[in-house]
Symmetry: C2
Subunit: 526 residues, 2 copies
């Protein structure tokens, strides 16, 4: 009944008189019944899921694709905590292909050799765009050769991926989470089940922002799946499968300490650099990758810290058993863990509350209110190449072939007070200290020192560090001198830079493009 | 240099050639330097905070008000984990008043007697609107008498508050968090420090959505404040003060078990209702308030579960020592805790990973992907009044005076399979089973049974439950019969309903308005 003047009060479903309007609130929505669902505010950003009732369990992946209404052109996401043991990407893409969905963007935090089947899904048009932070194996190789995707692959940093998701720049329609243990309502943890992988730090960002979230588990546990790593209110559907992956694939070739004399020498020198920098004091914070030399640096530091009775505040990153040992020996009060790198780390995360999970955003997002990388004193990083500007390449070989990606490299280099690159002068006969890196992954302005078997080059921007290392009697050399020595001893020299069409864009953590990877053409043999 | 056709590639700050455009992505932002901050996407919803550097510590609350640019008309939020021991609301409002900021909306999850100074801030125009889920003490009384605020106070449910914040309906400019332990970068926990209050479930929602977050702590701990309840990437500023509150104020008068024979009789009967309903089986899930009878129901259940060797899945809610005992005795595998109700619960949360924190959204938000209340088998709730339609009032006395509010009442009643009201027929001489409740808080359609000393009234909608209780030989009566008995034995009768201007709107969990509280006028004596 239209009326010239709106009524001042209305009767709701309980016959209660309520005001029709309220200053500053506008029209009142009157109660219409406990299940009448009157509440969705116009323009609301709340994300209600489909499921009602007490279970979100669907019978298989097809049912989840159907329930989530996945369609052509959508973006789907995956995480890589199971690393080369992951079965979820392949499983889901197989079902997506079967469902006839095309033209998807796949955002997976890292790509491993096990993900080879992705190539066929790209060739067949099921997948037409790709975001990742790291790629090794057949997918990386094939995508280096020619542009198969509709647009160059975007290679982000771990923190940059979180930033892109939180900002809405990378807008995920359906996130698939490999859940080592999951209950019927979507609570998940990474410490139970046959594929227990530890923390779920990368997936934690996806589930907060994706329009739909599907948990894929091979260990359905009674409600509630405590201790919970990802909580039910973020999850739409749960699917049980035979296997989400093979835990033994978590430990990749990059998580063993070097035993080569030259690598050990570099590691010891890097530890001396940290010491001479003045940072090795109570409260010291530290991150190191899982590469052979990086782990040896941790071992050297352990000795120094023990000797002097130093207790650090935290070690962060992908966590390895080496860092767990240091924590348990009292050398670091806490561990911040975005991803467990080995079974010992998983065990520690399961049992020890001082071993704290962190999301990829908390870890490294440059655009939140302060990431853990900002609190790092020292990070030890590897390199495929370093150039005269201290720019680092961890994305491609000198041939242009994709062999990795930033992961947290650029994030930690930018955040840490002291970012040290440890590297041999040459690798596979090719020089690693070069005029100009084949691909710029991490900008030189964020790198403080490069430690090699032939000495230490300090970034000229870091005059105080140079003075301290000099005072400590460490063997300082110029980066150009290292380049010269590398050139003198290398047995292979890189060919001309790849000049094919762009196959990948290297995205810096803030979303800007720091470099382009160009097609290398067909590779003989490999 | 303007050009008819845009260049296909551009050189970035590292002199790297990157494409100017990418299909589907548009113009490329070229890298301009590690700290050039090129990355903010247009229309981005990311929430970057002010702090750079390694500390967010400011010298006092004034500095935080200034840094967060709090201005007239803003909305600020608080949480109530310290209950009647909280000092943070008063402290912040005193500083806000001193700063000359006016016309604020205050959203505090509950109001206690300790918050009396709020009245003066309302009278002086510092605070002009109020959202809360529960109010007792002088603020509740004064706001019942006349409309002092610019608009009626909005009384939400705990889940409805989370819904309103997540949907953007309740848009918080600055959230203040009482942090029992906090580090310089804003990581907080509730298990350390002199005001350790346990979980921070209500604040967990505010910090996710507020434009600015200020942690107020009286225990600044070394970085990182593990185990972390609220993480640094959500927090803008940290302020250290002498005291955030008095832990002894957490235990309010509502957290002691009844020892009156009538109360115990009601409790035992409620336990028999649960038993007869068929729900008391392995996997049973349960919530009870901290009222005297509610706790006695837990004690009765404990006996039954022990006797039969039943292990429940979880107990939820504000957690009391009684529920901790049941968990430790193996009667519930897990505890879900939005707020610790006593010191024993705090201790348990500190030490036991099976005692799991939950945010107010995970607990009870009706518009997320499934709250914990949806998984409840049984909830035991109190009432100020119940009427012939089973509508429940926990908001006002029969005089219209505000004496509480929903808290989780409406949320758990809506979510649980079996929602039981336990109440005496009369209170303070007034009838508690009435024709029509003074104020409708929780709709009758979500209430299954009312248990009194004079028998059990089953909601006529619940025919199966009625049959089960009948078969178990329980004393069933109609709600009208209970009303009649209450009328017969009451020694006071309520006056006519308050008919002043609206002073509060009772908001159902979905955001609709279920009732209006009208001004009662000046109250003599009290």
């Amino acid at each position: 009944m239209p009326s010239a003047e709106p009524p001042k009060t209305i009767l709701n479903a309980l016959q209660r008189e309520v005001p029709a309007f309220m200053p500053g609130r506008g029209a009142i929505r009157a109660f219409r019944g406990a299940n009448a669902d009157t509440g969705r505010a116009p323009g609301s950003n709340e994300r209600r899921g489909a499921p009602t009732g007490r279970s979100k369990l669907l019978k298989d992946v097809q049912a989840a694709l159907s329930a989530s209404q996945l369609k052509d052109g959508d973006t789907i996401s995956f995480h890589h905590h199971l690393r080369n043991g992951d079965r979820v990407l392949n499983l889901v893409l197989q079902e997506v292909a079967r469902a006839g969905v095309k033209n998807l963007t796949v955002a997976i935090s890292s790509i491993f050799p096990v993900h080879g089947p992705l190539i066929e899904h790209i060739r067949s048009g099921v997948v037409s765009r790709l975001y990742t932070s790291y790629a090794v194996g057949p997918v990386a190789k094939v995508l280096s050769q020619e542009l198969l995707l509709e647009a160059p692959m975007v290679m982000q940093t771990h923190g940059g991926r979180a930033r892109a998701i939180e900002s809405g720049e990378l807008d995920i329609d359906v996130a698939f989470v490999a859940a080592p243990a999951c209950d019927r309502y979507g609570n998940m943890n990474g410490v139970q089940g046959k594929a227990a992988c530890g923390t779920l730090g990368y997936a934690m960002v996806d589930v907060q922002h994706a329009k739909q979230v599907v948990a894929i588990t091979d260990s359905l546990v009674p409600y509630p799946a405590c201790p919970i790593d990802i909580t039910q209110e973020c999850v739409d559907y749960v699917v049980e499968v035979d296997s989400i992956g093979d835990r033994s694939g978590i430990v990749s070739g990059t998580t063993r300490m070097t035993d080569e004399p030259e690598g050990l020498k570099i590691a010891q020198m890097a530890a001396r650099v940290i010491d001479a920098s003045g940072m090795l004091q109570d409260g010291f914070s530290f991150q190191t990758g899982a590469g052979g030399i990086s782990l040896a640096v941790a071992a050297s530091l352990k000795g120094l810290m023990h000797e002097r009775g130093i207790q650090g505040s935290f070690a962060a990153g992908g966590i390895t058993g080496y860092l767990v040992d240091m924590h348990e020996a009292g050398l670091f009060r806490n561990l911040f863990d975005v991803q467990c790198f080995d079974l010992r780390a998983i065990e520690s995360y399961r049992n020890n509350r001082a071993h704290q999970a962190m999301s990829a955003s908390m870890y490294a997002n440059p655009h939140n209110r302060g990431a853990v990388v900002n609190q790092l004193d020292t990070v030890i990083l590897g390199a495929a190449e370093v150039d005269l500007d201290f720019n680092v390449n961890v994305t491609t070989a000198s041939s242009g072939l994709i062999i990795g990606g930033s992961g947290g490299h650029s994030d930690t280099a930018a955040g840490a007070q002291l970012a040290i690159i440890t590297t041999r002068l040459t690798g596979g006969g090719f020089p690693k200290i070069v005029d100009r890196v084949t691909t710029a992954t991490t900008p030189g302005e964020t790198i403080d020192a490069v430690v090699t078997e032939a000495g230490i080059a300090v970034n000229p921007l870091q005059t105080e560090l140079r003075d301290r290392l000099q005072a400590a009697g460490l063997p300082l050399v110029s980066i150009d001198a290292l380049r010269g020595q590398a050139a003198a001893i290398c047995t292979n020299s890189p060919g001309p830079p790849a000049d094919g069409e762009p196959v990948a864009l290297v995205e810096y953590r803030d979303g800007s493009i720091i470099d382009t990877v160009r097609a290398v053409g067909q590779i003989a043999g490999g």
